[in-house]
Amino acid sequence: MAGIYIHVPFCKTRCHYCDFFKSTNLAFRKQYLEKLLEEIRERSDFFEKNNTPVQTIYFGGGTPSLLKVEWIEKILESIQTNFRVIDNVEITLEANPDDLNFEYLKAIKNIGINRLSIGVQSFFDEDLKRMGRRHNALQSRSALEWAFKAGFQNVGIDLIYGLPWSDSNLFLSNLDVLQEYPIVHLSAYHLTIEPNTQFGKLKLQKKLFEIEDSKSEKLFWNLHDKVEQLGFEHYEISNFCKEDYFSRHNSSYWNNEPYLGVGPGSHSYDGNHRYWIKPDLHQYVTKGYSEGLSCESLTTTDRFNEYLMLGLRTQKGIDIKRMMENFEEFWINIQPKVQKWLDSDFLECEDGYIRGTRKGWFVIDGVIKDLFLVD
């Protein structure tokens, strides 16, 4: 199993909560594409060691839906040429509702995109406005209509909860849309106020605050209960899906599988090293990816900690058998601590997996920290 991530670092405008790497200068798009194709060619041997075919391709950003169809096509062709790709590869495109129209959707469907992740965030215009989103609720609904009309089956939406001005019922009413459309995937993120954002500034000025954590917790479990009732599985802290429609691409991150990230600001992992390209669009388009490429090799402890961290964020939890195979000594070493969290009902053990409980999952970072091995 292997995945390719394409980072598309362009946005028309900056959303007030977002600290992802992107540029609102769209002028570099053409040069970016050239360098990206070059990078795909030059890194075609990335998975050789793993000897595994590409199973997922993911256009993330930024705003990938700002790319013209023919460009997306070129990127996909290049991947096909340079990598071994399985037949029923999952190809996801992250999209902004206002970029999507029926023609565009039909066209990207035709060139192979088979999964959409639409950045809805909220179905309330008031929320969208305050978050600095450039679309409105009507555009989201239209985008969904067209997506299904264009023949997409694997469609997911993103929502944000914990908005300081909103309330629990208002947020939960967003979920009604899951009954109106055959949406199969939901990513629901609790608002994090990051320092270098518009919201971060407002927080410094004491004009905006995160909601109380007891409210957050209540929202989280209300969300969980309601979405589960609608037939979704809560398979990772912020992700829900209908039966088999989990994001194969994102799951590969959590299952410790290799992935190649291309484009400025992207990260790659080959099982032992993590690579990243400097988030510098100008450098990328003038000098290419290699100038900004850095690498860090992971020690066994690093890999153990990452495995713990990622595993406990998923609903399935940590596979004890896999732990014992890969990190026996470390795993045994932390057993007293694991037992302590089991005894206090923050963790539970079932069918060979250790996972967060209803008491523990929403405070799992504290548990992860405690279980980490550090020198």
Binding site: Y253, Y269, W276, V363, D365
Partner: protein, 595 residues
Amino acid sequence: MKNIRNFCIIAHIDHGKSTLADRLLERTNTVSERELQEQTLDNMDLERERGITIKSHAIQMQYSKDGQVYTLNLIDTPGHVDFSYEVSRSIASCEGALLIVDATQGIQAQTISNLYLAVEHNLTIIPVLNKMDMESAMPDEVEDQIIDLIGCDRSEIIRASGKTGMGAEEILNAIVERVPPPTGDPDAPLQALIFDSVFNSFRGIIAYFKVVNGKIRKGDKVKFFNTGKEYEADEIGVLKLEMVPRDELSTGDVGYIISGIKTSREVRVGDTITHVDRPCSKAISGFEEVKPMVFAGVYPIDTDDYEDLRAAIEKLQLNDASLTFQPESSVALGFGFRCGFLGMLHMEIVQERLDREFNMDVITTVPNVPYKVYTKQGDVMEVHNPSGLPEPTVIDHVEEPYIRAQIITRSEFIGPIMTLCLGKRGELINQHYLTSDRVELSFDMPLAEIVFDFYDKLKSISKGYASFDYYTTGYRTSKLVKLDILLNGDPVDALSTLTYFDNAYPLGRRMCEKLKELIPRQQFDVAIQAAIGAKIIARETVKALRKDVTAKCYGGDITRKRKLLEKQKKGKKRMKQVGNVEVPQKAFINVLKLD
């Protein structure tokens, strides 16, 4: 001898003593401008930063006037209440004193108490009005204060500025003309007063002294009167910017002696040096054994650093004889030391020097004063830490140290300061107007009341316009209890305090409130309780954390997120585990910073 002038400087912190001293050194060519770092006399970094002189030094200048060359010995004095004994010994070595007063601020408490000391020792006082270059200078008003205080003539006051060099020549002139030369009998048996000592890693302890009577020669066999120890004077000399060896120092001279002394405890400030062969009949009066008045536990943050901490404290003690320590252990903090300090500032200085000079991160526990516990059996014991207090059933009564506090402030702040001091069990002894709007207040107070949150409070209620000085006056009977703090039911020994009974309830309540701020939220509720014996007198709860999870963790987030959590975990290592509760280091330090 008639051309020697020994003088010291009396000044409040920040009144520009060091800068003015620099100008004198410059004028007398003792230091070239190139060598003259700002404030030459304070050669510890810490001192320079804080603008206070912790250890006193001495320096010799040559000054020509009317065809005569004079030797001027400036004996620098430490400028803080904790070091008043050391100040008194420096003063005892001089015949004159420059009274430096900031023309923008007027006289402060500390200036007064040191001035009284100088007057007591019959020193000639030369009043100097410093910082005359400042726009906010109020020379006439401050001169009035000085005249009121020492009864001098207005013409005797020299207007100066350390910054511009104004008045420096006049000051040097006045030192020669007004300060009398030292008296004493060069032929009498040797009597030299030790007023300071420093540790040098190559040469051991270097003691600074003034020859009061007789002569000392290189190679002489000498005896320190109070310790009774004998040494050979390997090297003697005078103090310029560097030490300059001499073969002989005579009555009135100020100099240093190096005699292979290894530890600072052998050299007591105030001790008398005399000859083994022809000893003086009695020591110079005024010698006192300096006793620490504030005790606190000092623990390494990392328990593995215990031995390193011991080595560091031992090194500090080499040039700081007033620092005492003995091993102590705590359930919460592991192994550490009970250290004795002269006062709160001394404690802060030691803590900071441990950090800067030895890179030792330490936790200092709640400080307390030494108590005298009288048992029913009739024994007396001195208690330096809360765990040392015997069971209430064996105690007959307890005594605590008292101080005489002197506060100088503007009259508008009398009310609040009175309230503060009376609230701290102070008794007003005297209220004296220095000028129409400056008043000197004297209180008798328990020392224990000033070891926490007194300075800060005094500062804030007087908007910084109060200066404070104190000296200890003896012991009085007290009602003492041990106040314990419990976290989720487990007592935390390092947070126990000894307190006056009537203060226990409010203190317990405030400590609980403060700890609630200091202890971070954890995965479960943390109950904070204050107790006297088995009786709970206050309680607060730190509510459990309800959200502690990252929203997004995808390909690009993984390593960063792991590193962040690892970093937080390492930060947690600096927390102390008390039962199942994690307590940050700063909680132990800041718990008494109550407001």
